[in-house]
């Protein structure tokens, strides 16, 4: 029998096409009679539209059609829905202002779409878009969430005159306050979790076409969850039956959350394709990605941790103001609440936690899930508090963590989650060793001789992945289920096609999932193909986000495999004239126990499709099964990160000299792919900590960081090579024992980096440095500290 494929570093099946330029991304799809769309976007952060003149644009060369909000209203295109209802502290539903696909009388952020021009070529569409004359009455704008709720701030939406979408809370405030009153020490920090712009390297794109013969639509779209896209678009916006719409998310060039959502452009090109009888394609320019992809983070937080005299955490209090942007994006409301406050226990036994979140509309791009989504923000709160508390109480930062680690599982946190398993000490110990923390003092001394400041910082993160038990999600406001679906189609000669509702946009599902199936069926990986991303092929799916693919999508596939094997046993029993109960199965071999009779998987497949000798009275021919899987709990990946930095006090430049990550993702199917996910996540997190910060001009509301020259996603020379390892406590409630790995790096890295920077500067009296800790920011912090000291 071949060695197990589970845990094997199998090279990726998808690589050949990507390496030879044969990938098919949305913009690569050119349909017969293709036409092209360009959007007219608001140059103002806040304005009423007095008039729109389209006649010049309509007459421009190559133009096929120009549509505005009026046309969208006349066609009864609904607004974009929000998929998660948050109920506020008073039991009232959140405020859900309309989110039109083309502006209705008002624009609310720079980039808000006002009109669309469709033409024979992309250049003609763009040229003609310049000819659309929009007359605006400019209104005062507000981009900062705290300012938006102040008296006299400009109101974005009629239904939310104070710009507040909701005030939401979790936990027993009175009990937490009481714990603080008795505490031996309280650590308090106030910080901003900086706003990020996702910047997948493939810009968003959508290509809609209407087929009159079928009276149906096809939408190619750069998207992470085609069935969800279809559901939202048909049921909520266009009023179409789902079976008339096919959504294909072909090769997708990175998502990181930003391609989960239903965007206005997706609807508009689909609708316009019917008006024109031509396929309509729109591909974002990078500047449009900056302006209109849903941004991430943007929290202002006051966080407090209460300790007893030994550094045991006795209570935690967090007040956060979350900027939602101008409209509610698809999952915007869940990110700063359900995906945030529930993670505030971290790896610790903090018995009492209270978190209050005020979510606010501003004249900025919508804010929604971005790699980690709520969990990086939570980890930042917890791990900055913990490390600062340790320094204030003169405890080693690892010691204070050890005094508070959860050690008994399952563990019910104070914030609604139940951790099934974990071993936080194991990942911490491994990380300390790998990072040679013991040798740090010496390295610090050596750096000091060169005039450099060294710092060491930790982050012990936890995340809730495998989203989600549908009933739990539903009780918390989700307006969709969060299961996953999979189908195994065994072909007569024993090769297999697997259909999954998960979507790969870089994660390598075509390989990882093939390993799972091939291992179970005793096949080679080459004999298993994975199909995803097409609603006309895959039975259903909720898609890929929240590190859920292997835990939820993989389990659905395992369940379908169970059914295949069950049926295979019946066929095998018939062929070998044994009773079904005596047939054993292992990796592609059906055996009659206690005998040497056996049948290979391929023989059973053949018998199922050429059923000459077959139990027709009991079984249908064929070997094709599907399964839906709704998880019973979240999964809880966790790990320990150690970051070592060296700061040049003269310039403020911070260099990461070493970054060590030890993660517990449960069982790992393909370590090579998992490491790649961690590398990418860490770099995203380091970007947040050191280089990435979205800025809007506070008065005009213009996006100041609107290109790669102003907004710095990490370059290769901004980040180090990483040291990685894993420890394994298998997830207890899925058959693969897997937890998910896609977001961990982005969740843990920011706190580790900032803890390292503040460690380096602590003796100078610097307690906190804002993210991104650019050279200028760090230099200023050093200057301010030395001024104070003087």
């Amino acid at each position: 029998m071949s060695a197990s494929l589970i845990g094997a570093r199998v090279q990726r099946k998808e690589d050949y096409r990507f390496l030879t330029g044969a990938g098919q991304y949305t913009d690569d799809v050119i349909l017969p009679h293709q036409s092209y769309a360009a959007f007219v976007r608001s140059p103002h952060a806040h304005a009423t539209i007095k008039s729109i003149k389209t006649d010049k644009a309509k007459k421009a060369p190559g133009v096929l059609g120009v549509y505005t909000g009026e046309d969208a209203a006349a066609a009864k295109l609904g607004g974009l829905p929000c998929g998660w209802l948050i109920t506020d502290v008073n039991g009232q539903p959140m405020k859900e202002p309309p989110h039109p696909v083309l502006a209705q009388g008002k624009v609310r952020y720079v980039g808000d779409q006002v009109a669309v021009v469709v033409a024979e070529t992309a250049e003609q569409a763009r040229d003609a878009a310049e000819l659309v004359e929009v007359n605006y009455d400019v209104l005062p704008a507000v981009v900062d969430a705290a300012k938006a709720t102040q008296k006299g701030a400009p109101a974005l939406h009629e239904i939310a005159p104070d710009n507040t979408c909701y005030v939401w809370a979790l936990g027993d405030k009175a009990a937490v306050d009481a714990a603080f009153a008795k505490a031996a020490h309280v650590t308090k920090l106030e910080f901003v979790n900086n706003r990020l712009i996702p910047n997948a390297i493939e810009p968003r794109a959508a290509n809609g076409s209407y087929n009159r013969a079928e009276d149906g639509y096809t939408l190619y779209v750069a998207n992470q969850n085609p069935h969800v896209e279809r559901l939202l678009m048909t049921a909520f916006v266009m009023g179409l039956p789902e079976h008339k719409v096919r959504v294909v998310a072909p090769d997708v060039g990175g998502g990181f959350g930003s391609k989960i959502f239903l965007y206005p452009e997706d609807v508009v090109v689909t609708w316009a394709s019917r008006q024109l009888g031509r396929p309509v394609k729109w591909t974002a320019e990078r500047s449009e990605s900056f302006l209109t992809d849903a941004h991430g983070r943007d929290h202002h937080t006051i966080a407090e941790m209460a300790m007893d005299k030994d550094g045991k955490f006795v209570g935690m209090r967090v007040h956060t103001t979350a900027n939602l942007g101008a409209y509610l994006s698809t999952f915007a409301s869940a990110v700063p609440t359900i995906l945030y406050a529930t993670l505030l226990s971290g790896q610790y036994t903090t018995p009492l936690i209270y978190c209050e979140v005020k979510a606010v509309f501003t004249n900025t791009a919508p804010v929604d899930a971005l790699r980690g989504a709520g969990r990086p923000e939570a980890t930042y709160v917890v791990e900055r508090l913990v490390e600062t508390a340790a320094r204030e109480m003169k405890l080693d930062p690892t010691e204070i963590r050890r005094r508070n680690f959860v050690r008994q599982f399952p563990y019910q946190t104070a914030v609604a989650l139940q951790y099934d398993t974990g071993n936080y000490e194991a990942t911490l110990d491994a990380a300390l060793k790998m990072a040679d923390v013991a040798g740090f003092a010496k390295r610090k001394e050596e750096a000091a001789k060169r005039g450099k400041l060294r710092g060491l910082g930790y982050a012990a993160y936890i995340e809730a992945c495998g989203i989600a038990p549908s009933a739990v999600a539903g009780s918390l406001g989700a307006r969709a289920g969060l299961f996953e679906a999979g189908e195994i189609r065994v072909h007569p000669t024993g090769s297999v096609t697997v259909f999954t509702g998960s979507h790969s946009h870089g994660q390598g599902h075509e390989t990882t999932f093939a390993q799972v199936v091939a291992d179970r069926l005793g096949l080679s990986v080459e004999n298993v193909d994975i199909v995803h991303g097409d609603t006309s092929k895959v039975l259903f799916g909720m898609g890929t986000y929240g590190s859920r693919s292997i835990a939820v999508g993989g389990t659905a596939i395992m369940k379908a495999l169970d059914k295949i094997i069950d049926k295979g046993k019946k066929i095998a029993a018939h062929l070998m004239e044994a009773s079904e109960g005596d047939v054993e199965y292992d990796k592609g071999i059906f055996k009659v126990s206690g005998t040497d009779k056996q049948k290979a998987f391929g023989e059973i497949a053949f018998a199922a499709y050429v059923p000459h000798n077959y139990p027709h009275d009991k079984l249908e021919p064929g070997l094709n099964e599907n399964a839906f899987y709704d998880p019973s709990n979240f999964t809880f990946p966790a790990g320990s990160y150690v970051c070592e930095v060296e700061i040049d006090p003269d310039t403020g430049q911070t260099k990461i000299v070493n970054f060590t990550a030890v993660d517990d993702f449960g069982k790992i199917i393909n370590p090579m792919i998992v490491e790649g996910q961690v590398h990418g996540g860490l770099t995203h997190g380091i970007g947040q900590a050191l280089t990435e910060g979205c800025r809007y001009d506070p008065d005009s509301g213009q996006l100041v960081t609107g290109s790669f020259t102003d907004y710095c996603i990490p370059r290769a020379d901004d980040v180090p090579s990483y040291q990685l390892d894993t420890r394994e406590t298998p997830c207890t409630h899925n058959p693969l024992g897997v937890k998910g790995c896609g977001e961990a790096g982005a969740i843990g890295a920011p706190a580790a980096v900032m803890n390292a920077i503040t460690d380096a500067l602590w003796s100078m009296g610097v307690k906190d440095v804002p993210m991104p800790a650019t050279a200028q920011t760090v230099w200023k912090a050093i200057q301010n500290a030395s001024k104070k000291a003087a």
């Binding site: 690589d15 044969a22 997948a200 997708v252 060039g253 290109s707």
Partner: protein, 159 residues
């Protein structure tokens, strides 16, 4: 004004009518339908559009098709051997998991081949600096750097 441009792309003579303002990348993607060359930005920074022109890596988004008149262009589609065998640099990207979503990959590979030719035996630090003009949001560069070091070695060995 439309103009005629002619050049050699992946060993074949090609020509087409373009506007004066048509970018080389548009010519390659839309007219030749070689969609392996990607567009990731509008400020000449991501490098997804990198092709080889007369043996040197260039960003095809920042030049006009007309500027490539008579040039010898290789795109990612022309890198593997005729029988489909991957170029040593492509093979190294596969072996070292130097790609995830694949969108930056063609540009990375085109730049890496050019770099490896000019700087055999470059250090990790030099490789990282050479990637200044190629953005990747997926891999964190770790494995791209490994792949380029290994690919360079393989290229040197294959000579």
């Amino acid at each position: 004004m439309s103009v005629k441009v002619s050049m050699k792309v992946n060993g074949k003579a090609v020509s087409g009518e373009v506007e004066e303002r048509t970018l080389l990348v548009t010519f390659i993607r839309e007219l030749l339908r070689l969609t392996g060359t990607h567009v990731g930005c509008d400020t000449a920074q991501c490098g997804a559009c990198t092709v080889s022109m007369n043996g040197a890596a260039v960003k095809s988004c920042s030049m006009l098709a007309m500027q490539a008149e008579g040039a010898d262009i290789t795109t990612i589609e022309g890198v593997a051997a005729a029988d489909g065998t991957l170029h040593p640099m492509q093979a190294a990207f596969k072996e070292h998991h130097g790609l995830q979503c694949g969108f930056c990959t063609p540009g990375m590979v085109m730049n890496a081949i050019d770099f490896a030719k000019k700087h055999p035996g470059a250090s990790e630090h030099e490789v990282r600096e050479a990637l200044e003009g190629n953005l990747c949001r997926c891999t964190g560069y770790h494995n791209i750097v490994k792949a380029i070091m290994a690919g360079s070695k393989a290229m040197a060995g294959a000579k």
